[in-house]
Symmetry: C2
Subunit: 136 residues, 2 copies
DNA sequence: TTCGTACCAAATAAAAATTATCTAAAGGAA
DNA sequence: TTCCTTTAGATAATTTTTATTTGGTACGAA
């Protein structure tokens, strides 16, 4: 359990009951999509609006508190930002497990007790073309 | 330029004008989202319905003709299925470049003339729990 | 304290995206 | 060609996401 009040302030965001509840909900299992988050928070705070959850997920993502995990064919999951890591995503039950390792990719794949079906590696950044345009 | 008629049949799908046009549109730049595909195809075939594009993307994905590339914060892109590879996604212009390499992850990252911001590695498969349930 | 400002939540409303339904037409095999 | 099955197109319905409006609350300055 982290101190989410401080986490929010450290990123320049006001700490509100709703934001802390959203972060609490995510931290329970590490990854949740918006419906799971809303369903969790609404139990503790029945008047919360789904739009509030949308807005706060976006603002917390933009300010580096959260990361969005794009999952093929499903709604994005959100996780509290931490160092880069792998996601082992089960195509059957949808569970996501984190896996931090600095080994080579082949090593990772062979080590796992996980029936691998698909590897998805996306590197986000600024491409050469955009980089040179920014400089000029 | 591939023979998309044969590709479809090889995956047990009927070859229709619309499906071939969708595949042609994707193959031009390698990755397109649904709006880009629709805008391309509608020029050649003005009566095509957006729902047709949706339906065909899903069916061609389910039958292994296409892959969905989840892009954080944007609509999924679709690509014609091939061997696993990296995606270099520019957060500025949205361009996607394929990068096939069997080197270690660190090597890949350092080699690139690409200002890396975020690594997203998702491995899809069947987790241990689901695997044992299927066996029983 | 009393304003004024800024930010936020909630409640709609609105817009956008996706899926379902139904009928006519096209594809593929005999 | 003929038949059967699948698909496309049109439309409606649903779902998802975003925008707008209103009211509340915290904070600082006067």
């Amino acid at each position: 359990m982290q101190n989410f009040v401080e986490l929010l302030k450290a990123h320049g965001l006001k700490s509100t009951f709703q934001r802390v509840q959203i972060l609490e909900a995510i931290s329970i299992c590490g990854h949740k999509d918006i419906d799971e988050i809303y369903n969790d928070v609404v139990k503790l705070h029945p008047t919360i609006s789904l739009a509030t959850v949308y807005k706060n997920l976006i603002i917390m993502k933009d300010n580096g508190v959260l990361c969005e995990v794009s999952v093929s064919g499903k709604k994005s999951k959100y996780e509290i930002k931490k160092e880069d890591h792998l996601h082992l995503i089960c195509t059957h039950c949808g569970s996501i497990e984190d896996f931090t390792l600095e080994a080579s990719f082949d090593k990772i794949v062979n080590l796992q007790d996980f029936e691998l079906q698909k590897k998805e590696i996306n590197l986000y950044g600024i491409c050469t073309k955009c980089h040179s345009q920014k400089a000029s």
